[in-house]
Amino acid sequence: MDNKNSYTGYNIKTQNFEGPLDLLLFLVRNYEINIYDIPISEITDQFLEYIGLMKKLDIEIASEFIVMAAHLMLIKSRMMLPVEEDLEVEDDPRVDLVQQLLEYQKFKEAASTLDSSFAVNSEVLERKADQILLDFPDDEDNWVEVKIFDLINAFSRLIGEEGKTKPTFSVFDDIEEDYDPEEKIRQIQSVLDIKGKVLFHELFSFEVRRGEIITVFLAILHMIKRLSIVVKQHKMFGDITLFPKSVTGDKL
């Protein structure tokens, strides 16, 4: 690749491309090339030139650009191979790339369409949320499923509080303790069997050591993953509550 000599004075804008496809699309559009008949050799040179430029400007080159460059060169070399006339029309090695570019282009447009509906939405003014609403009954409608991020937030609050209230943590606390989430799962399950539900923070109220708190949280995550519990929260009363999965169908 003799790049230095092939510099033809193209003024490639050093805009930030989202990825190799973005750059390729830019090149295709900028040089008014027919996308169904990309002159692979030229495009490859321009692509490499851009990478060279990125190097010069000391922009970190994402590995994806290198992969694409290699891919372009592969296509280029395939196209140089002689094609036997009597063979059925060999697949154009560029077909996949063109498909990919078209697909990418489609979603780039979709993204800008989305952006304009976002602009429309900025005219939507809804009522302020902080009014005190009616007393919500304990209905199914008023229980919403808790998202994993909410759970993580609740957990980090818990860890934070615990750090504040018990600052006398000893570093030796956790040494040689055996924490077993499976054991905790069994415990939580038995509470659920008896009571039918349990509050998230209740599960942590007896735990003193950080390691134990983490174990309980792990146990909860395991149970969610195994679909043995559902975690829900009442719109109004806010306590995160664990329910056994089987019951939720009819009771909640």
């Binding site: 990825g19 994402a62 994806e64 990418y104 509906s117 976002f118 939507v124």
Partner: protein
């Protein structure tokens, strides 16, 4: 309850709630079918229109929401000092568009469209509650499938996923500028 009473009840319901009220909730409380609901909503919306109401019933995120009429949005945002809603970056929009149109979609599929790693953007979108994990693909590795949320519909003022604007099919002509 007469039809007029039911319409009035729906109106009251929309007034009380500040978030979009799901179709199902409206139907249940007013004891009506979905097609009846659509009809009543249209009538309510027309009523508002005729008397140039300051309110608007907007169909969004698989429900209806009572909002201030957009013609007052400028004045109102001055009064209340509403901040401009933070815009999404170009990358986020791209990834979101792919997820919206192709859902349920795996991360690998998103990346094959964009040609770049998108892990961080996906994480951001998850945190913003614009997308969510909708399931797992029953293939090797059982990868997570992503889809958009109701919050997404609300943010982009869409009735449902089906309401997404049609993607303009790229015509060959556009690329054949040289021809």
């Amino acid at each position: 309850m007469s039809v007029e009473e039911k319409k009035a009840l729906i109106e009251a319901l929309l007034f009380i709630e500040n978030e979009p009220v799901p179709y199902g909730v409206i139907c249940k409380h007013a004891d009506i079918t979905k097609s009846e609901m659509a009809k009543y909503m249209k009538e309510l919306q027309d009523d508002y229109e005729v008397r140039q109401s300051g309110l608007l019933i907007n169909e969004v995120a698989e429900g209806y929401q009572m909002i201030a009429h957009p013609r007052f949005s400028l004045i109102l945002s001055k009064i209340y000092g509403v901040k401009n809603k933070s815009k999404l970056s170009k990358v986020s929009l791209e990834v979101l568009a792919i997820i919206a149109y192709k859902q349920p979609v795996t991360r690998a599929e998103i990346e094959s469209v964009r040609g770049v790693s998108t892990e961080r953007t996906i994480k951001q979108l998850l945190e913003k509650d614009l997308i969510t994990i909708v399931g797992r693909r029953e293939t090797v590795g059982r990868p997570i499938e992503l889809g958009t949320t109701k919050h997404f519909l609300k943010i982009f003022n869409l009735k449902s996923v089906k309401d997404l604007p049609q993607i303009r099919e790229i015509k060959e002509m556009e690329f054949n500028k040289t021809d």
